[in-house]
């Protein structure tokens, strides 16, 4: 994060213990406005737990999570109104039509002129023809586009994307990334991104944070980290870190 950048996310000394198991161990980092930050690490590194504490789905054992300068536990409603989240592992109700799902979430986020907003997003994400369809009938690629449209309903300042392309074929994943980059530029979005696809992370992230066994092992631009480990790309760095343990 640059010195003159405003911190959108400030995580300080975050610890989460589940009984004796320490899932997140004294993690501190910041994310600046307009930054795209990749949160990386092997399975069980603590990425998901960190994200869930950021979204106030899990209560930290200790430490603080501030978003837009405010503590998430005290200003939950205000903060979550300006964040959105998307993950292929979290489904939108399949028994609702696509426009019904978008309309319900528009209501939950208090979107004004929700019909107009849904139409606008349907055009951007190329889901206009899907609006009258049942959500359960969508393909994985269509569902990912719908999830992203849902995630943009409230014009979030911070977007949390948990492995958004994990179930997409390379062609659709590439289109997704291009679309995301375009939106990020246009709206000056701040993005926290997790993925196991290191090429993807190199392509879209300004900075990456590596977690391993609940601790931050590295925090820097992809180039800095690749250089530090003397590897040819992030994938090799990932393997090196994961196999070190």
């Amino acid at each position: 994060m640059k010195k003159d950048q405003m911190a959108i996310v400030e995580i300080k000394n975050l610890i989460k213990k589940f009984d004796k198991f320490i899932a997140v161990d004294d993690v501190s980092f910041e994310i600046g406005e307009g930054e795209t930050v990749g949160l990386l690490g092997p399975n069980g590194a603590g990425k998901t737990t960190t994200i869930q504490m950021l979204l106030d789905l899990i209560t930290p054992t200790s430490g603080s999570v501030k978003v837009f300068g405010k503590d998430i536990s005290r200003h939950r409603t205000e903060i979550l109104g300006q964040i959105n989240f998307s993950s292929p592992y979290v489904a939108l109700p399949g028994n609702l039509k696509v426009w019904e799902n978008l309309s319900v979430f528009a209501g939950l986020y208090g979107v004004k002129n929700s019909k107009q907003k849904i139409d606008e997003l349907a055009n951007i994400f190329d889901i206009k023809e899907l609006l009258p369809k049942m959500t359960s009938n969508l393909s994985t690629g269509q569902m990912t586009r719908l999830n992203l449209a849902k995630a943009m309903l409230n014009d979030p300042k911070l977007l949390v994307l948990d492995e958004p392309t994990s179930s997409l074929d390379p062609d659709i994943a590439d289109r997704y990334r291009k679309l995301l980059k375009k939106i990020q530029k246009e709206k000056m979005l701040t993005i926290l991104y997790t993925s196991h696809n290191m090429l993807e992370i190199e392509e879209i992230c300004d900075r990456v944070i590596f977690l391993n066994k609940g601790k931050i092992t590295d925090n820097g631009t992809p180039e800095e980290i690749i250089k530090k480990y003397g590897r040819k790309d992030l994938n090799d760095v990932f393997l090196a870190i994961a196999r070190e343990t």
Binding site: A23, F85, A91, L92, E100, A106, Y109, K150
Partner: protein
């Protein structure tokens, strides 16, 4: 609390009712079948003169309509929560600015709508099939009915809290809890029939006072106003306890990280 968030969750459930046969059956078909069954039983008892001077049709018809009001109140709240677990939507809901109080308010409103529809359907069938007009008992029955919705909602809240604590393995309670309550709350018979030690349990339930008051008005024409206030008082106490329990269970699953695993 913000109305737009309460409305959004309510609308989410109402969308489902438009095209879901099982949900429509819950509201229209099963209550109708229950009413028909008990209607024929009461007519048989009346014609066989088993019931003496008691207007058994009025007693049983009134009881079954009131019972459905209680059941629907509980069922709608518990099942509304389960819908989001079954659809793996819980996480999406709780990363929005939605407050727990708004979540509960929307399910309570859904319960009121369901109860209203079930009551209207049953009341109309009772008039045409058995010449029994629920409102011939007087419009005082409305506040009593609200006490039943209230208690049903409290039971739904407790079940939802138990599901939060123990996960979907406890979901059977959402469908079975009323069968545990029914024998103790004296729906079809007076409390005096019950053994003395069970009467203590019976009088601890707000619904018991409603069913006793219903029988009293059929038999004597008098409303037991005091029973309304006892029922309301118990409801308020149980509401406070059940809200405390629900919020405690929610805090617990946030601490254990279970909310993210509930719908996986």
């Amino acid at each position: 609390m913000k109305w737009h968030r309460i409305k959004a969750l309510l609308v989410r459930h109402l969308y489902l009712y438009q095209r879901s046969v099982p949900r429509l059956m819950d509201v229209f078909f099963w209550p109708t079948m229950t009413l028909l069954l008990w209607g024929f039983v009461s007519e048989y008892l009346q014609q066989s003169n088993f019931s003496g001077s008691v207007n058994i049709v009025a007693v049983l018809m009134g009881a079954i309509i009131f019972w459905e009001i209680l059941s629907e109140g509980q069922h709608s709240l518990s099942v509304a929560f389960l819908e989001d677990i079954w659809e793996r939507n819980l996480l999406n809901i709780f990363v929005t600015p939605l407050k727990l109080s708004e979540f509960l308010a929307s399910t309570a409103l859904l319960g009121v709508i369901r109860v209203f529809l079930v009551s209207v359907v049953m009341a109309i069938i009772a008039i045409f099939a058995y010449s029994f007009n629920l409102f011939s008992l007087g419009f005082y029955i409305i506040p009593f009915a609200f006490n039943l919705i209230f208690f049903g909602w409290i039971l739904g809240l407790i079940i939802t809290a138990v599901i939060l604590r123990f996960g979907t393995s406890a979901q059977v309670l959402a469908f079975g809890i009323m069968f545990l309550v029914q024998p103790f709350t004296a729906v079809f018979y007076p409390v005096s029939i019950l053994p003395k030690y069970i009467q203590y349990i019976s009088y601890a339930l707000p619904s018991t006072y409603v069913f006793e008051a219903l029988r009293a008005v059929v038999n004597t024409g008098h409303f037991l106003t005091s029973y309304f206030f006892i029922s309301l008082g118990l409801n308020l106490i149980y509401l406070a306890l059940s809200l405390w329990f629900f919020y405690a269970m929610f805090a617990r699953i946030k601490k254990n990280g279970m909310i993210t695993k509930m719908d996986s």
